[in-house]
Point group: C2
Chain length 486, copies 2
C-alpha cells in the first residue's frame, strides 16, 4: 500500500475528469430519442457539452504520476466525490429542459437515479419529454453496476488501485474476483449487465411495450432502480410484461458472479450458494404467504393475487421499487411483511441495495453460535459460509456495518420526525432512501411521491441515498475528521 498520508490529487482529478467525459457521452446517447419523438435536442446536447467541456481539459492537463498508485484514502475520496459530482452534472438535462424547475428537486431526482433508489419528486411523469425520461432511466443504469466499476474496466492506468476503488463502490463484503486482473473482472461484470439489459429490452419489446419504454424499464430493472415512464409505474402493463420484469428484477438482485458461472454452465455454483438459496426461498415463501392473504382478504383472482404478491415481494426485496399495486392498503399483516423486506435487501455483488442477504445470514449464524460459545467458552467456533470458515474480522466488520446502519436509520427517522413528518412517513422515507428502494410506507407509499418534502428534507434524503448506495463506510470515512487529519 503506498504512503497513505498524502492524497494523490492528480490521480483523483484524472479519474474524476474522465468520469465527466463518460457521463457527457451517456447524455449524448439520448439524442436519438429526442429526434425520433420530435423533441428539442438542445437540453441533452447542452448538458453533454457542458459536462464534457469541464471534464476534457482537466483530463488532458492533469499529469499522472505513473509511479504512484491509488492508496486507500485516494480510493475513498475518488469514489465519494465521483458520486457527488456526477449527480451535480446529472441535473443539467432536467434543469435545461425545464422538466424540474429548482436545483434541490433536480439533485434529488438525479441522485435518486444514480443510487438506484427510484424515489421521484415528479408529480406527473408523463408530461416530461421522452429524451429526458431516457436520461432519467440512464442515471439508474450508470449507477446500478457502478460508474467506477465501468471506469476500472476501461481505464487501464488504474492498475491495482482499481480494486481499492471497486471495494469502495461495490456492494457486499468483498467483490469476488472473476479474474486475477481487476480490469478483467470489471469488464465481465459490465458485460453480463449489458447482456441482461439487452435481453430484457427484447423480451419487453416483443410484448406490448414500445422500444423506448422497453429500454427505459430495462435500465431501471437491471439497476434495481424503479423509475418508470408511466405515472402508475408497471400497474397498467399486461401480465406478460409484469412477469418479465419480475424475472429480470430477480436476476438483478442476484450476485453477478453467480451469473458469470451460470453463463459458463456452472449452475451448481449458483444452486449451492447459500445466499442465493436464501434469496430464492425468501421470495417463494413470502410471495406464497402474501398471495394466499390477498386471495382470501381482497377477493382477487388466484393469478392476480399471486402476481401482485410476487411482483411486490421481488420489487421490494431487490430494492427496485416498481409498483403494480398499492401494498399500503393491504391488510396490515401483509404490508408489514413488505416493510420487513425493506430491511433485508438484495444479494452481495448484485445491483440491489439494502443491508444484503449475506450480512443477515452471517449475523444470524453468528448469533446462534454465540449461545454455543457461552456454554463452551474455551472452544473456537467460527461462522461457516458455503462450507468455509469466515474470519472473525469479517464478522466484526459485518456487525459494525449493521450497527451503523441501524444507527443511521434511527438518526434518519428522528431527524425527519423533528422536521415534522409523521411516524410512518419518517421511518418509511428513511428506509426507502437508505435502502435505495424508492417507495416506503406512510406518505411515501407505493402511489405517492417525494415532492412534498421540504428542501432540507430532500437534501437529507439525498445524503441517505448516497450513504446507502456506497454502503455507509466510503461516505462516512470521507466525512470523518480522522480522514483529513495528518
Amino acid at each position: 500500500m503506498p504512503n497513505s498520508k498524502i492524497i494523490n490529487i492528480p490521480i483523483v482529478l484524472k479519474v474524476l475528469s474522465f468520469l465527466l467525459i463518460v457521463e457527457g457521452l451517456f447524455m449524448l446517447s439520448g439524442i436519438g430519442f429526442a429526434i425520433y419523438f420530435g423533441e428539442s435536442i438542445m437540453p441533452l446536447l447542452i448538458s453533454s457539452l457542458i459536462t464534457i467541456f469541464v471534464g476534457l481539459p482537466t483530463y488532458l492537463l492533469t499529469k499522472k504520476n505513473d509511479k504512484k498508485n491509488i492508496g486507500k484514502r485516494d480510493g475513498y475520496l475518488i469514489v465519494a466525490t465521483t458520486w457527488v459530482i456526477i449527480s451535480i452534472f446529472g441535473t443539467l438535462p432536467f434543469l435545461i429542459s425545464g422538466s424540474i424547475s429548482n436545483y434541490t428537486d433536480a439533485f434529488f431526482e438525479t441522485i435518486s437515479g444514480f443510487t438506484t433508489t427510484g424515489a421521484t419528486i415528479l408529480n406527473d411523469i408523463e408530461v416530461v419529454p421522452k429524451n429526458i425520461l431516457y436520461w432519467r432511466a440512464m442515471t439508474h443504469w450508470i449507477g446500478g453496476m457502478g460508474i467506477i466499476v465501468l471506469t476500472v474496466a476501461i481505464l487501464p492506468f488504474l492498475g491495482i488501485g482499481g480494486l481499492q476503488l471497486m471495494i469502495a463502490e461495490m456492494p457486499g463484503i468483498t467483490p469476488d474476483k472473476l479474474h486475477p486482473r481487476i480490469t478483467e473482472t470489471a469488464k465481465r461484470f459490465w458485460a453480463i449487465y449489458v447482456i441482461f439489459t439487452v435481453s430484457e429490452v427484447l423480451l419487453l419489446w416483443i410484448g406490448e411495450m414500445n422500444f423506448f419504454d422497453s429500454v427505459c424499464h430495462s435500465f431501471a430493472t437491471m439497476a434495481t432502480g424503479g423509475f418508470s415512464t408511466k405515472n402508475d409505474s408497471i400497474a397498467g402493463f399486461m401480465p406478460y410484461t409484469q412477469y418479465i420484469i419480475v424475472l429480470f428484477m430477480f436476476f438483478a438482485g442476484t450476485n453477478f458472479t453467480l451469473h458469470y458461472f451460470a453463463l459458463h454452465r456452472k449452475f451448481d455454483k449458483m444452486i449451492s450458494n447459500q445466499e442465493f438459496q436464501i434469496y430464492f426461498w425468501i421470495i417463494v415463501i413470502v410471495s406464497i404467504f402474501i398471495a394466499i392473504g390477498l386471495f382470501l382478504a381482497e377477493g382477487l383472482g388466484a393469478e392476480n393475487s399471486f402476481r401482485d404478491s410476487l411482483f411486490t415481494v421481488v420489487s421490494i426485496l431487490t430494492t427496485t421499487g416498481f409498483v403494480t399495486t398499492d401494498y399500503s392498503i393491504w391488510p396490515s399483516t401483509l404490508w408489514m411483511l413488505i416493510f420487513a423486506l425493506m430491511f433485508i435487501g438484495g444479494s452481495a455483488g448484485s445491483t440491489g441495495g439494502g443491508v444484503k442477504i449475506i450480512r443477515h445470514l452471517l449475523l444470524i449464524k453468528n448469533s446462534f453460535l454465540e449461545m454455543k460459545r457461552s456454554i463452551h467458552p474455551q472452544a473456537i467456533i467460527p461462522v461457516k459460509y458455503n462450507g468455509k470458515s469466515v474470519s472473525q474480522q469479517i464478522i466484526f466488520n459485518v456487525m459494525a456495518f449493521f450497527l451503523i446502519y441501524i444507527l443511521v436509520f434511527s438518526f434518519g427517522t428522528i431527524t425527519l420526525s423533528m422536521l415534522g413528518y409523521n411516524f410512518n412517513t419518517s421511518i418509511g422515507a428513511t428506509i426507502a432512501a437508505l435502502g435505495n428502494i424508492g417507495p416506503g410506507i406512510g406518505d411515501v407509499g407505493p402511489v405517492d411521491n417525494y415532492s412534498f418534502f421540504s428542501p432540507f428534507a430532500k437534501w437529507f434524503l439525498s445524503f441517505l441515498m448516497l450513504l446507502g448506495r456506497l454502503e455507509l463506510f466510503t461516505i462516512l470515512i470521507v466525512i470523518s475528521p480522522a480522514f483529513w487529519r495528518r
Copy 2:
C-alpha cells in the same frame, strides 16, 4: 470452572426450593395489609403455604454435594428455571383471591411484575383487594434487584458459583465487584436497594400518599416496574409526589455501584462515570426539548410542561413505565422521541431494563473508530471507556447482544403482526415487553392495558419480558439445542 458436561441436579433443586421458601415468606408479608384493610387473609396465606410446602421438603431432602461447585451450565439453568417457577407460584394470590380469573392473565401479570415490566391486564386496578395489590407491587420489588442476587447474599454455600449466577441475572456487561467476596457484593446491592426504598416510602408518606400507596409505589419505583395502585397511575397525585417519584426513578436507573461509592462520599466516582454522564444529559436535554414543545404546542403552564416532560422521559428511559400524562396524544415529534428512548434503557447495574446506555455508548464509540480503522488498517485502535481500553471480546459480545436484541425485536413485531395486531401496536408491545417498560405505542399506549391480547399473544409477550429481564442470553442459551447436547 468445574466439568460443565453434567448438570448438577441437586444444586439446581437446592437453589430452586430455597427460592420458593423465600417467595412464600414474601407473600406472608402482605397479610398485615389484609388485616389492616379488613380483607380476607386467606388468599395470601394459602398461596404462601402452598409455595413453602413445595419448597421446604425439596430443600430439606436434597443433599448438596459440597465438593461440587456451580458450573456455567448449572448457573444458566438455575436462573432461567427460577424466573419461570417463581412466576408460576406467584400467580397464586391473584387466582385464589379471584382478582384474575384465568391462568394466562395471572401468569402475564406476575411475570410482568417480576420482570419489572409493569404491563397489566387489569381493566380496573382499584377494585382489586389492597393486599393483592401489595403482592403485585412486591413482585416488582423482588424482581428488580433480583431474587438470585438476594439468594447469593443469604445462601453462603453458593460460593464462587454465586458470581456465575449473578452474571446470568444482573443487567449490564459484568457486575462490578464491590467486595472480593461475591456474597458481600450481593449484600451491599440489596442493602442500598432497601435504603432507597425505605427513604422513598418515608418521603411519599409525608406527602399526600397513605402508607400503603407509599409502599407499593416505592416498590414499583425502585424496581423500575411501573405497577400503580391507581387506574390513572401517578396522574392524580400532586406535583410533590411526582417529583419524588422522578427522583427515585432516576436513582433506580443509576448503576448501584455508583450509589455505593456515593454513600461512601466518593462522589467523583459517580460524576466521572461516562455512562452516568450520558444518562444524566439524555434526561436533561430530551426533557427540556419536550418541555418546550409541550409549552408551545399544548398551551400547558411552564411548570406543568416541564413536569410532564421530565416525568415521562425519566419513566421511559429508566423503563419504569409510570404515567402522569398521555404522551400518545402529544405532537408526533415529541412522542416519537419518547418512543426512541424505549430503545435506550437504563444503566448497567441498575434495576432498569432495555439495551442499557453503556452498550449504546460502546457501540457508538466503536462505530466511529471503525472509520479510523478503515483508514489505518494496521493500527490497533481500542474502544476506551472511563479512560480504560475495552477488550475486543467485550465489544464483540456487546455487538452480538445488540444484534440479537434487534433480531428478537423484529421477530416479535412480525409475530404480533401475524396475529393480527396493527403496526404501531406490534412494535409498541414488542419493545414495551422486551425492554421491560410497560406502556408502548399504538393500542398499548400509556392509558391502555394489555387485556385485549389473545392468550397466545400474552404468552408470547411474557416470553419477551423474560428474555428482556435476563438480557437474552440466559434464556436463549437454555432453550438452545447446544445446551442439552452432550
